[in-house]
Symmetry: C2
Subunit: 427 residues, 2 copies
């Protein structure tokens, strides 16, 4: 008995999905006894469907898929939130399992969708929503569940990691790196979702929800992107034995959960420091298992389609085996989310200041007033004859105190000569 699939979306991942099926349909049948058939394809454009031989089952209207009672499983690959919600919710309500790669939707309306899947006794799978082809949601929902996870963090946006790699290795500016990323097709014409950290924020919301058994939505995540990073700061990081990565971090502590995305200085010896270009990696720390890292291609047609097809085959196994004992929503706790102002970590701060006696002393007293203890201070090469760059690395400090320091240094009379830089440090 064939498992009948309706595909919505024929962009990069949708095409990859159809290509895998064309190549491996017979292998899936031989190995897993699954006869997977795409019986309906929906998209805004019919070119890919026609090119790949699906013109006779093509439709512009996704209701044709929802209303087709012979379809067991819907694959949603259009992205975005509103239309995708209607498609997925409609499919679940129609008793069809759903596989999606949609991180934005899962990070914003995952709870509603899980409730629908549960109500209608069907499955909702989303491995491809985080880390492209890297198996990470599966392991966290299965192999690792005997652990209390204390930390899940990673490089989950290939575009910005490519740009940061360019900036660090070729000493380029943000604008130059963006241009290269756009030329190579790694960055969109409007790169905001990537460079402002929103894509990574959705992904860490999903990972943290699973890791901490607590529903975390996109709006819970502090997100700061890479637009403000300068070659000067990357160079200073390198000189101190660090590199700068856009890390998405979820961490459990006594007080609750931190969930945040921002440029982060990590030691060059850390496993995540060696993740370069468009590669992704997710680092997980569990109380029994210790430190784990999952590494692979975070984007691209094949990688994401691999994860989508893996989910589809797993759902197909369940459909064929008439299995209804799915692992759905695992948010059985409601741990508090720690406000960003209460974060405690180390900080890199760079102030371009006037080169005159007394300035360092004034700044030091601001740090002291706010109980921010300094690990190192270095005065770096002059920009012009009147301005010097003063670089501080702090010991563990509280975010709100650091913000107060930055504000008060800015208010010192005749001191600041440019925009200060702040990068959080993970050791």
């Amino acid at each position: 008995m064939a498992v009948s699939v309706g595909l919505v979306g024929t962009g990069t991942v949708g095409r990859g999905f159809l290509e895998i099926l064309a190549k491996h349909h017979d292998d899936f049948l031989r190995h897993y006894h699954i006869d997977l058939q795409v019986t309906r394809v929906c998209s805004r454009r019919n070119d890919v469907a026609c090119e790949l031989g699906f013109s006779n089952v093509f439709t512009y209207d996704f209701h044709d898929i929802l209303n087709d009672t012979s379809i067991d499983l819907v694959v949603e690959l259009i992205g975005g939130v509103d239309d995708a919600f209607d498609i997925i919710a409609g499919a679940l309500q129609a008793g069809k399992s759903v596989v999606t790669a949609n991180k934005a939707l899962m990070a914003q309306r995952g709870k509603e969708l899980f409730a629908l899947a549960h109500e209608h006794k069907v499955e909702l799978a989303f491995e491809a929503s985080v880390g492209g082809g890297i198996p990470i949601i599966g392991p966290m929902k299965h192999a690792l569940i005997s652990n209390e996870i204390s930390c899940v963090m990673g490089i989950v946006n290939g575009t910005t990691n490519f740009m940061l790699t360019c900036m660090a290795e070729q000493n380029l500016s943000y604008d130059q790196a963006l241009q290269i990323a756009q030329q190579k097709g790694y960055a969109e014409a409007d790169p905001s979702a990537d460079v402002d950290g929103l894509d990574a924020a959705a992904k860490i919301a999903i990972l943290s929800s699973i890791a901490f058994n607590t529903r975390i939505t996109l709006s819970d995540v502090y997100a700061q992107g890479i637009r403000a990073l300068t070659p000067l700061d990357l160079e200073a990081a390198r000189d101190m034995g660090y590199c700068v990565k856009l890390l998405a971090i979820g961490r459990r502590s006594e007080a609750g959960i931190e969930v945040r995305v921002h440029p982060t200085m990590i030691p060059r010896s850390h496993a995540l420091a060696s993740v370069k270009g468009v590669y992704n990696a997710v680092y997980v720390v569990g109380d029994a298992v210790g430190d784990l890292m999952f590494y692979g291609e975070g984007a691209g047609s094949g990688a994401a389609a691999s994860a989508v097809m893996g989910d589809v085959l797993e759902c197909a196994r369940h459909i064929q085996g008439n299995v209804r004992s799915f692992v759905g929503c695992t948010c059985s706790d409601t741990l508090p989310i720690i406000a960003m102002s209460q974060l405690e970590t180390k900080y890199y701060l760079r102030f371009p200041v006037v080169d005159s006696p007394g300035v360092l002393a004034s700044m030091a007293s601001v740090f002291a007033q706010h109980n921010v203890s300094i690990y190192s201070v270095v005065q770096r090469g002059k920009k012009d004859k009147d301005t010097v760059e003063v670089v501080y690395v702090t010991h563990q400090a509280r975010e709100q105190d650091i913000m107060a320091v930055v504000e008060e240094v800015a208010a010192l009379p005749d001191c600041l000569r440019g925009t200060p830089a702040l990068i959080r440090v993970e050791d």
Copy 2:
């Protein structure tokens, strides 16, 4: 309804298993609605069971577990082949699912056990048999199944990786490194299973069986250990930009499957090169997903117990959900295994030879006779005034030709002054 577990074996991993349960029983109940109860413990010694509060359910006779019809699931953690086979086979025949960490048994008699599990409609899970706590079998049997895997390789023995890290970083001999490993408890008094590559061979047999859908048993695997490695060769590797790791390699080609374990020179820029100490990592290449790496602690009580408990919870989910559609044996192909003599790769060869005119020419002609093309040749520092070390790196060559070269160089009159070294090279 509780899920009732019988535990056989209370060594390092068995203790870790009981400790995880003591710590997280209530979490498992809250998050996964699984009330896991260890209702019987069997071991050769009762000290751990008594210490951890299981003296009242302790037995020296595993039949007490097999004959207890209230037990749903048996956890086998005694290791070894014969007794473990009897326990697992008996449990499966009694209709109990089984979780094991036993790589030697799975690599030698996995096929029989899978047949029994299938026949009796129960589950056989063995995530902990490879890579300690690293989820690798789960991802390969689920998330990655849409891929044709071309290569699975890794550092899967923590003992030897620790020793090689010591040898490389502290310039120690094999014997010195072994002594440190034994002092730290990483190596057994009889270290053969680790240092001769047999442990790694069992693990790559298991991984290759899954990756290539073809049953590969321990006896199919070429295994060469690290006893013959010298600081001289590690130093030569370093000078050429390589490091030496005991790699377990499974690779698919047109002609069939290679499955082998041996010291291997890999570029220092390769992701596996940065895996140090007792850490493990498995590298997987799939046709859709591209390159992936799974990294973590390969040994230790917590890591292995994490994997065992993950399997137990997954089996418990299935038992509670009355799910009978398990993923069992996936060996649905019978690809041929390529004889080691037919292997094609690059080779590092070191010959200690007499320092006299004509020797290099004689050796070169031996290489030429066997059509082995040389990429580089370097004469390294003299050992004594009459002997020089000549180091070759070849282009791609066939194993049987390389072996012929080594044999014929050894037979050259007045040439060889010591044992030649051979290390295969992966680029």
